[in-house]
Protein backbone atom coordinates (compact mmCIF):
# COMPACT_ATOMS: atom_id res chain seq x y z
CA UNK A 1 0.00 0.00 0.00
CA UNK A 2 1.48 3.26 -1.10
CA UNK A 3 0.19 6.32 0.66
CA UNK A 4 -0.49 9.54 -1.17
CA UNK A 5 1.46 12.58 -0.17
CA UNK A 6 0.86 15.58 -2.38
CA UNK A 7 4.01 16.94 -3.99
CA UNK A 8 4.80 19.06 -7.04
CA UNK A 9 6.85 16.39 -8.74
CA UNK A 10 7.81 12.73 -8.36
CA UNK A 11 11.22 11.57 -9.55
CA UNK A 12 11.48 7.86 -10.29
CA UNK A 13 14.94 6.59 -9.37
CA UNK A 14 14.01 2.98 -8.69
CA UNK A 15 16.68 0.48 -9.70
CA UNK A 16 19.24 3.21 -10.22
CA UNK A 17 22.55 2.98 -8.44
CA UNK A 18 24.84 5.63 -7.00
CA UNK A 19 25.43 8.36 -8.13
CA UNK A 20 22.25 8.49 -10.24
CA UNK A 21 19.70 9.39 -7.53
CA UNK A 22 21.76 12.38 -6.42
CA UNK A 23 22.55 13.48 -9.96
CA UNK A 24 18.92 13.24 -11.05
CA UNK A 25 17.68 14.97 -7.90
CA UNK A 26 19.94 17.92 -8.55
CA UNK A 27 18.72 18.18 -12.12
CA UNK A 28 15.07 17.94 -11.11
CA UNK A 29 15.47 20.57 -8.40
CA UNK A 30 17.03 22.97 -10.87
CA UNK A 31 13.85 22.78 -12.93
CA UNK A 32 11.56 23.43 -9.96
CA UNK A 33 10.41 26.66 -8.36
CA UNK A 34 11.43 27.72 -4.85
CA UNK A 35 9.13 26.25 -2.24
CA UNK A 36 8.05 23.32 -4.39
CA UNK A 37 8.28 19.80 -3.03
CA UNK A 38 9.93 16.88 -4.79
CA UNK A 39 9.47 13.22 -3.98
CA UNK A 40 12.43 11.04 -4.95
CA UNK A 41 11.70 7.31 -5.11
CA UNK A 42 14.86 5.23 -4.91
CA UNK A 43 15.78 1.65 -4.20
CA UNK A 44 19.48 2.39 -3.68
CA UNK A 45 20.12 1.99 0.08
CA UNK A 46 22.90 4.55 -0.20
CA UNK A 47 20.32 7.17 -1.16
CA UNK A 48 19.23 7.44 2.48
CA UNK A 49 22.49 8.98 3.60
CA UNK A 50 23.31 10.55 0.23
CA UNK A 51 20.19 12.64 -0.28
CA UNK A 52 20.30 13.99 3.27
CA UNK A 53 23.94 15.00 2.76
CA UNK A 54 23.05 16.46 -0.60
CA UNK A 55 20.27 18.60 0.90
CA UNK A 56 22.49 19.78 3.72
CA UNK A 57 25.23 20.77 1.32
CA UNK A 58 23.01 22.47 -1.26
CA UNK A 59 20.79 24.23 1.27
CA UNK A 60 17.50 22.59 0.31
CA UNK A 61 15.14 21.24 2.96
CA UNK A 62 15.10 17.50 3.59
CA UNK A 63 11.55 17.02 4.83
CA UNK A 64 11.49 13.32 5.56
CA UNK A 65 11.74 9.72 4.46
CA UNK A 66 9.25 6.88 4.21
CA UNK A 67 10.44 3.35 3.50
CA UNK A 68 7.85 1.27 1.75
CA UNK A 69 8.31 -2.19 0.25
CA UNK A 70 12.00 -1.60 -0.36
CA UNK A 71 11.43 1.84 -1.90
CA UNK A 72 12.86 4.87 -0.15
CA UNK A 73 10.54 7.84 -0.60
CA UNK A 74 12.50 11.02 0.04
CA UNK A 75 10.70 14.35 0.36
CA UNK A 76 12.65 17.51 -0.37
CA UNK A 77 11.62 21.14 -0.63
CA UNK A 78 13.47 23.58 -2.82
CA UNK A 79 14.85 26.47 -0.80
CA UNK A 80 14.23 30.06 -1.73
CA UNK A 81 16.95 32.66 -1.38
CA UNK A 82 15.18 34.76 1.24
CA UNK A 83 14.03 31.86 3.35
CA UNK A 84 16.65 31.76 6.06
CA UNK A 85 16.02 35.38 6.95
CA UNK A 86 12.34 36.10 7.36
CA UNK A 87 11.27 39.57 6.33
CA UNK A 88 8.22 40.01 8.50
CA UNK A 89 5.66 42.48 7.24
CA UNK A 90 2.44 41.43 8.92
CA UNK A 91 2.38 43.46 12.16
CA UNK A 92 0.62 40.97 14.44
CA UNK A 93 2.85 38.15 15.57
CA UNK A 94 3.14 35.76 18.47
CA UNK A 95 6.10 33.69 19.55
CA UNK A 96 6.23 29.90 19.50
CA UNK A 97 6.13 29.97 23.32
CA UNK A 98 3.02 32.16 23.40
CA UNK A 99 1.22 29.77 21.10
CA UNK A 100 2.30 26.81 23.18
CA UNK A 101 0.98 28.51 26.36
CA UNK A 102 -2.32 29.43 24.71
CA UNK A 103 -2.81 25.84 23.63
CA UNK A 104 -1.86 24.54 27.09
CA UNK A 105 -4.33 26.90 28.78
CA UNK A 106 -7.11 25.64 26.50
CA UNK A 107 -7.63 28.99 24.78
CA UNK A 108 -9.76 28.72 21.67
CA UNK A 109 -7.38 29.31 18.81
CA UNK A 110 -7.09 27.58 15.47
CA UNK A 111 -3.60 26.65 14.34
CA UNK A 112 -3.38 27.06 10.58
CA UNK A 113 -0.35 25.30 9.11
CA UNK A 114 0.41 26.76 5.66
CA UNK A 115 3.41 24.56 4.79
CA UNK A 116 3.35 22.00 1.97
CA UNK A 117 1.40 18.78 2.66
CA UNK A 118 4.60 16.71 2.80
CA UNK A 119 6.05 18.95 5.50
CA UNK A 120 2.83 18.73 7.50
CA UNK A 121 2.79 14.93 7.27
CA UNK A 122 6.22 14.58 8.91
CA UNK A 123 5.35 16.67 11.95
CA UNK A 124 2.78 19.31 12.94
CA UNK A 125 1.18 20.78 16.03
CA UNK A 126 -1.61 18.47 17.24
CA UNK A 127 -4.93 19.69 15.87
CA UNK A 128 -3.37 22.04 13.33
CA UNK A 129 -5.31 22.48 10.09
CA UNK A 130 -3.27 22.02 6.91
CA UNK A 131 -3.88 24.61 4.20
CA UNK A 132 -0.79 25.10 2.01
CA UNK A 133 -0.14 28.76 1.20
CA UNK A 134 -0.73 28.15 -2.49
CA UNK A 135 -4.24 26.85 -1.79
CA UNK A 136 -5.24 29.39 0.84
CA UNK A 137 -7.24 31.68 -1.43
CA UNK A 138 -9.31 28.88 -2.93
CA UNK A 139 -10.00 27.34 0.49
CA UNK A 140 -10.55 30.58 2.37
CA UNK A 141 -14.34 30.22 2.20
CA UNK A 142 -14.05 27.09 4.35
CA UNK A 143 -12.58 29.16 7.19
CA UNK A 144 -14.59 31.25 9.66
CA UNK A 145 -13.44 34.90 9.64
CA UNK A 146 -14.73 35.42 13.17
CA UNK A 147 -12.39 32.88 14.78
CA UNK A 148 -8.89 33.42 16.13
CA UNK A 149 -6.03 31.99 14.05
CA UNK A 150 -2.39 31.29 14.74
CA UNK A 151 -0.78 30.91 11.32
CA UNK A 152 2.43 28.91 11.18
CA UNK A 153 4.96 27.68 8.61
CA UNK A 154 8.62 26.66 8.91
CA UNK A 155 10.35 30.02 9.41
CA UNK A 156 7.59 32.63 9.48
CA UNK A 157 7.76 33.68 5.82
CA UNK A 158 4.93 31.83 4.20
CA UNK A 159 2.76 32.34 7.29
CA UNK A 160 3.40 36.08 7.00
CA UNK A 161 2.02 36.06 3.47
CA UNK A 162 -0.88 33.89 4.61
CA UNK A 163 -1.74 36.39 7.39
CA UNK A 164 -1.82 39.20 4.86
CA UNK A 165 -4.15 37.20 2.60
CA UNK A 166 -6.43 36.42 5.56
CA UNK A 167 -6.48 40.06 6.68
CA UNK A 168 -7.44 41.15 3.15
CA UNK A 169 -10.38 38.79 3.37
CA UNK A 170 -11.67 40.30 6.57
CA UNK A 171 -10.08 37.98 9.12
CA UNK A 172 -9.32 40.28 12.05
CA UNK A 173 -8.02 37.87 14.73
CA UNK A 174 -4.96 36.55 12.91
CA UNK A 175 -1.42 36.24 14.21
CA UNK A 176 1.76 35.05 12.54
CA UNK A 177 3.68 32.57 14.69
CA UNK A 178 7.41 33.30 14.65
CA UNK A 179 9.82 31.76 14.12
CA UNK A 180 7.59 28.74 13.38
CA UNK A 181 7.94 24.99 13.12
CA UNK A 182 11.73 25.03 12.58
CA UNK A 183 12.11 25.99 16.26
CA UNK A 184 8.94 24.46 17.69
CA UNK A 185 9.56 22.92 21.13
CA UNK A 186 5.99 21.91 21.95
CA UNK A 187 4.17 18.73 21.12
CA UNK A 188 3.93 17.50 17.54
CA UNK A 189 2.27 14.61 15.82
CA UNK A 190 2.91 13.06 12.45
CA UNK A 191 0.71 11.21 9.99
CA UNK A 192 3.40 8.74 9.03
Amino acid sequence: MSREIQTDRVLECERLSCPMPVVKTKKAMEEMKPGEVLEVRATDKGSVADLQSWAKRTGHQYIGLIEENGVFRHFLRKASNNETKAEVKFPHTMSNEELNQKKASGESIIVLDVREPAEYVFGHIPGAISVPLGQLEEKISQLDPGKAYAVICRTGNRSDMACQILAEHGFSRVKNVVPGMSQWQGATESDE
Binding site: L16, S17, C18, P19, M20, K26, S53, R57, T58, G59
Partner: protein
Protein backbone atom coordinates in the same frame (compact mmCIF):
# COMPACT_ATOMS: atom_id res chain seq x y z
CA UNK B 1 27.39 28.00 0.45
CA UNK B 2 30.74 28.72 -1.17
CA UNK B 3 31.55 26.35 -3.98
CA UNK B 4 34.03 23.61 -3.27
CA UNK B 5 36.55 22.37 -5.78
CA UNK B 6 37.36 18.72 -6.38
CA UNK B 7 40.48 17.84 -8.37
CA UNK B 8 40.79 14.27 -9.64
CA UNK B 9 43.63 12.48 -11.43
CA UNK B 10 42.73 9.34 -13.38
CA UNK B 11 45.92 7.54 -14.35
CA UNK B 12 45.32 3.81 -13.87
CA UNK B 13 43.99 1.31 -16.40
CA UNK B 14 40.69 -0.52 -16.42
CA UNK B 15 37.00 -0.11 -15.98
CA UNK B 16 37.44 0.17 -12.21
CA UNK B 17 39.37 3.40 -12.57
CA UNK B 18 36.69 4.84 -14.86
CA UNK B 19 33.99 4.16 -12.29
CA UNK B 20 35.97 5.45 -9.33
CA UNK B 21 36.83 8.71 -11.02
CA UNK B 22 33.50 9.35 -12.75
CA UNK B 23 31.26 8.41 -9.81
CA UNK B 24 33.04 10.80 -7.50
CA UNK B 25 33.13 13.47 -10.19
CA UNK B 26 29.42 13.35 -11.01
CA UNK B 27 28.41 13.16 -7.34
CA UNK B 28 30.65 16.11 -6.52
CA UNK B 29 29.11 18.12 -9.35
CA UNK B 30 25.65 17.28 -8.02
CA UNK B 31 26.78 18.72 -4.69
CA UNK B 32 27.53 22.00 -6.47
CA UNK B 33 31.30 21.48 -6.50
CA UNK B 34 33.51 22.56 -9.38
CA UNK B 35 35.21 19.44 -10.67
CA UNK B 36 38.18 18.80 -12.95
CA UNK B 37 39.59 15.43 -13.96
CA UNK B 38 43.10 15.15 -15.33
CA UNK B 39 43.42 12.04 -17.51
CA UNK B 40 46.92 10.74 -17.95
CA UNK B 41 48.67 7.50 -18.99
CA UNK B 42 46.21 4.58 -18.99
CA UNK B 43 43.51 6.85 -17.62
CA UNK B 44 43.28 8.36 -21.10
CA UNK B 45 41.34 5.34 -22.31
CA UNK B 46 38.35 6.53 -20.25
CA UNK B 47 37.82 9.48 -22.60
CA UNK B 48 38.96 7.66 -25.75
CA UNK B 49 36.28 7.21 -28.42
CA UNK B 50 36.95 3.45 -28.26
CA UNK B 51 36.64 3.35 -24.47
CA UNK B 52 34.23 0.45 -24.56
CA UNK B 53 36.83 -1.83 -26.17
CA UNK B 54 39.71 -0.44 -24.14
CA UNK B 55 38.22 -0.52 -20.64
CA UNK B 56 38.22 -4.02 -19.17
CA UNK B 57 37.85 -5.28 -15.64
CA UNK B 58 41.10 -6.26 -13.96
CA UNK B 59 42.02 -9.97 -14.13
CA UNK B 60 40.26 -11.57 -11.20
CA UNK B 61 37.51 -8.95 -11.21
CA UNK B 62 35.57 -10.38 -14.16
CA UNK B 63 32.95 -11.66 -11.76
CA UNK B 64 31.95 -8.07 -11.02
CA UNK B 65 30.41 -7.74 -14.48
CA UNK B 66 27.36 -9.63 -13.25
CA UNK B 67 27.08 -7.33 -10.23
CA UNK B 68 27.35 -4.22 -12.40
CA UNK B 69 24.36 -5.43 -14.40
CA UNK B 70 22.38 -6.46 -11.35
CA UNK B 71 22.83 -3.15 -9.55
CA UNK B 72 22.10 -1.32 -12.81
CA UNK B 73 25.25 0.77 -12.63
CA UNK B 74 25.27 3.45 -15.33
CA UNK B 75 27.59 2.84 -18.27
CA UNK B 76 30.82 4.80 -18.70
CA UNK B 77 29.39 6.78 -21.67
CA UNK B 78 26.36 7.68 -19.52
CA UNK B 79 28.60 8.86 -16.71
CA UNK B 80 30.70 10.88 -19.15
CA UNK B 81 27.56 12.54 -20.53
CA UNK B 82 26.40 13.43 -17.04
CA UNK B 83 29.84 14.74 -16.16
CA UNK B 84 29.90 16.96 -19.24
CA UNK B 85 26.37 18.13 -18.70
CA UNK B 86 27.11 19.13 -15.12
CA UNK B 87 30.19 21.09 -16.12
CA UNK B 88 32.96 18.71 -15.09
CA UNK B 89 36.19 19.81 -16.79
CA UNK B 90 37.98 16.95 -18.49
CA UNK B 91 41.62 17.58 -19.22
CA UNK B 92 43.71 15.12 -21.25
CA UNK B 93 47.39 15.27 -20.38
CA UNK B 94 49.11 16.68 -23.46
CA UNK B 95 52.40 15.01 -22.71
CA UNK B 96 51.04 11.46 -22.45
CA UNK B 97 48.76 12.05 -25.44
CA UNK B 98 51.90 12.90 -27.46
CA UNK B 99 53.91 10.02 -26.02
CA UNK B 100 51.16 7.57 -26.95
CA UNK B 101 50.92 9.00 -30.47
CA UNK B 102 47.31 10.10 -29.99
CA UNK B 103 45.46 13.14 -31.37
CA UNK B 104 42.65 15.29 -30.00
CA UNK B 105 40.32 13.55 -32.51
CA UNK B 106 40.78 10.26 -30.67
CA UNK B 107 38.91 11.65 -27.68
CA UNK B 108 35.24 12.36 -27.07
CA UNK B 109 33.88 15.89 -27.48
CA UNK B 110 34.35 18.27 -24.62
CA UNK B 111 37.82 17.10 -23.66
CA UNK B 112 40.46 19.81 -23.41
CA UNK B 113 44.16 19.18 -23.77
CA UNK B 114 46.41 20.63 -21.14
CA UNK B 115 49.60 20.20 -19.24
CA UNK B 116 50.31 19.63 -15.60
CA UNK B 117 50.20 23.35 -14.93
CA UNK B 118 46.66 23.66 -16.32
CA UNK B 119 45.49 21.01 -13.88
CA UNK B 120 47.51 22.36 -10.98
CA UNK B 121 46.13 25.84 -11.52
CA UNK B 122 42.73 24.34 -10.71
CA UNK B 123 44.00 21.94 -8.03
CA UNK B 124 45.77 24.59 -5.96
CA UNK B 125 42.39 25.87 -4.78
CA UNK B 126 40.75 22.47 -4.43
CA UNK B 127 39.62 21.24 -1.02
CA UNK B 128 39.56 17.66 -2.27
CA UNK B 129 42.24 16.05 -4.41
CA UNK B 130 41.99 12.43 -5.46
CA UNK B 131 44.16 10.11 -7.48
CA UNK B 132 42.77 6.98 -9.09
Amino acid sequence: MANKKVAIIASSPGLETAYKALNIATAAAALDAEVAIFFTFEGLSIIHKDAEQMLKLKPGNEGLAEGFRKVNVPTVPQLLDMAKESGVRMIACQMTVDVMGLEKDHFIDGVELGGAAAFLDFAFDAQVTLNF
